[in-house]
Amino acid sequence: MTQFLSLLLNGISLGAMYALIALGFVIIFKASEVVSFTHGSLLLLGAYSIARLSEPLGFLLAALVGIAITAVAAFVIERVIINRLRGAAVISLAIVTIGVDIILLTELIRRIGSDILNVPHPWAGGSVRVGDVGISENRLIAIAVAAVLIGLFFAAFKYSNWGIAMRASAEDGETAALMGIKQGRVSALAWVVAGVLAAVAALFLVGSPTPGVSPSTYAVALRAFPAAILGGLDSTGGALVGGLLIGIAEAMAAGYQDQLLFLGRGFSAVVPFIVMIAVLMFRPSGLFGTKELTRV
């Protein structure tokens, strides 16, 4: 039971990170109809910048600058490429982001090489115990930060001008444009927010118990894709649920890997994808995604 609770707690914290990434994924899709495969390398860019800058700038400043760098990168991608392709086929847009991803990822991996860059979190590798249930401090702080950020995000999405503009243009882009909502601005802002969320997730993902920033950090981001998909690509609430679901499932599979050994070592890394396929079998638009209606 203790093990179960501990795994659950770890799963929630992992899931919170996935939810942050998936939220960015979803709002980009809502705002600009783009399925952003650049998200993995944006996350790696955030992690890399934070790790490299923390030597000269100190942790806090490095984290802020790293998050800013990621947001700016996302902004530039949106302005320079995505914005020019407004109205193109969804598949073309997805492929363009894959192209950008290749460039960014190749450069980052070249710079990182085979090193594991360490991010000197002030909370380092400490862990907290509540009764018998233990969790690393990093993961605990991650839950708190993610909760605040997600709360802020949903509040902004519901009440702020940007949120309303964004929901309006997701609902019906043309009408929203006629109402004076600048589609370009909405989309650019969505990318910036997604960049920030991804970088924040990166900040915690590379902390304890993970060793640090390495090219495999990219693979972690890929596991957030199932979170967005199984929640429903156009549902922000779905991203949250999907993230938590995937995080918990993965943590459980990792924790009980001795019992799951017949499925092979490292099975937990595949669990998010299996969960996704299982959900899509029964709900092709995800758990909370808008069902496609056809009118002839």
Binding site: I91, I95, F225, G264, F273, I274, R295
Partner: protein
């Protein structure tokens, strides 16, 4: 695609490859002539060219087969799939297991059926098709972009299986692929020793011809699919699923079937990949491979078979050429970029540029050049009348009100 092709018996004769130019152009002899010339050059190449180019050629032939298959799925029927690497892996592993000899490799005990390689190849293609068929109920229900992400899952599950199922796949270190042979004639260095015009025909030369035959067969098959009823149905389906189903196209059925065909292509490409490298290892079949295949068909031009061929040659040969001539190319080798990195930068940039400025890809550029040469002194029109409409970018996606019938 001009209407005149409709009446042509599909695949009746090899010269049917070159679509006869519409009447009145007066150049109908040029295309078959060029094709015959190209074929002769291809056949004679092993007599003159060194081994490196022949090996590159076989690798490119494998890539051509795979790219044509992926293009049928993504370009023609508009379903984004990132699972191509998985189906390649199924083909490669089946071949290696069915035709490989059982034996120990280090601590691992490898299984193998030791059947003739041609059977291994066929089983590889069929099993890849079966894997596609198993996934296709899901594929048929998902809209393009959901499928794109869902298909990611297959790649990761595939890598996991490759790493864990040591008895079949050789596990983390992989295992070597048996030489190909056909009715006692091996495609290896010896057995029988073979000289043609005093040029020794060794593994590279023999594989070159194998690649040529397989790639040509794959090409003709795809052309014929596209020109016949299913091809038209698929293109309608890509442009609007609603319109297609109203016209009586069985949307789910066609989606599932094209997935099957595409994965069989991938299976054959996987077998050829194993033959070209001489071994298989899990890391070769990662997401990167899927993305490379996507790069091929995007650069070549979505929906165009010729484009897939051009793209496959470009993407598969470039890193090898970079590697070989690293010291001749600026910025590559030495203190600069590694060959693979340089190639990846180039692919990434090329994908972005193609989608931004030339959605019809290399095939579109080739068409334009052909259009120019066809009208000497004439103005180059943006769209020559016989430009196949499907070689352009998939038409704008369905507005949200349309879409799948699910």
């Amino acid at each position: 695609m001009s209407e005149s092709t409709l009446t042509e018996a599909p695949g009746a004769h090899p010269s049917g490859v070159g679509r006869p130019a519409p009447a009145g152009r007066g150049r109908s002899w040029l295309r078959p002539l060029l094709l015959v010339l190209a074929l002769v050059v291809m056949l004679a190449l092993p007599l003159y060219v060194e081994e490196f180019w022949l090996r590159t050629g076989f690798a490119a032939a494998g890539a051509i087969v795979g790219a044509i298959g992926l293009n049928l799925l993504v370009g023609t029927s508009g379903q984004l799939s990132l699972a191509h690497a998985f189906f390649l892996a199924v083909g490669a592993v089946s071949y290696v297991y069915v035709s490989g000899e059982p034996g120990g490799l280090g601590v691992a005990e490898l299984g193998g059926l030791g059947l003739p390689p041609i059977i291994g190849m066929i089983v590889g293609v069929l099993l890849a098709g079966l894997a596609g068929l198993l996934f296709s109920p899901l594929a048929a229900r998902l809209r393009g972009i959901y499928l794109g992400v869902a298909s990611l899952a297959l790649v990761f599950i595939g890598i996991h299986v490759l790493n864990s199922w040591t008895e079949v796949t050789g596990g983390f270190n992989g295992r070597s692929a048996p030489e190909f042979s056909l009715f006692g004639f091996t495609f290896g260095n010896r057995d029988p020793e073979l000289y043609v015009l005093a040029v020794p025909f060794r593994e590279a030369e023999r594989l070159w011809y194998l690649g040529l035959v397989l790639a040509l067969a794959a090409y003709l098959f795809a052309r014929n699919i596209l020109r016949s009823r299913p091809g038209r149905a698929l293109q309608t389906l890509r442009d609007s699923e609603v319109a297609a189903s109203v016209m009586g196209v069985n949307v789910q059925g066609y989606k599932a079937r094209i997935f099957l065909v595409s994965s069989m292509y991938a299976g054959l490409a996987g077998v050829m990949y194993a033959l070209s490298i001489g071994s298989i290892a899990p890391e070769s079949f990662g997401l990167e491979l899927s993305i490379l295949y996507l790069a091929m068909i995007v650069l070549g031009g979505l929906g165009s078979v010729n484009g897939a061929v051009l793209g496959a040659i470009f993407v598969s040969a470039l890193p090898l050429i970079f590697q070989r001539y690293a010291d001749l190319i600026p910025f590559v080798g030495g203190g600069g970029l590694a060959a693979g990195e340089a190639a990846r930068f180039l692919f990434g940039a090329a994908i972005v540029l193609v989608i931004l400025f030339e959605p019809a890809g290399l095939a579109g550029i080739a068409n334009r050049i052909a259009g120019r040469s066809r009208r000497p002194g004439g103005r180059v029109t943006e769209h020559p009348p016989d430009t196949p409409s499907r070689s352009s970018e998939p038409s704008p996606s369905d507005p949200p009100a349309q879409g799948s019938t699910t």
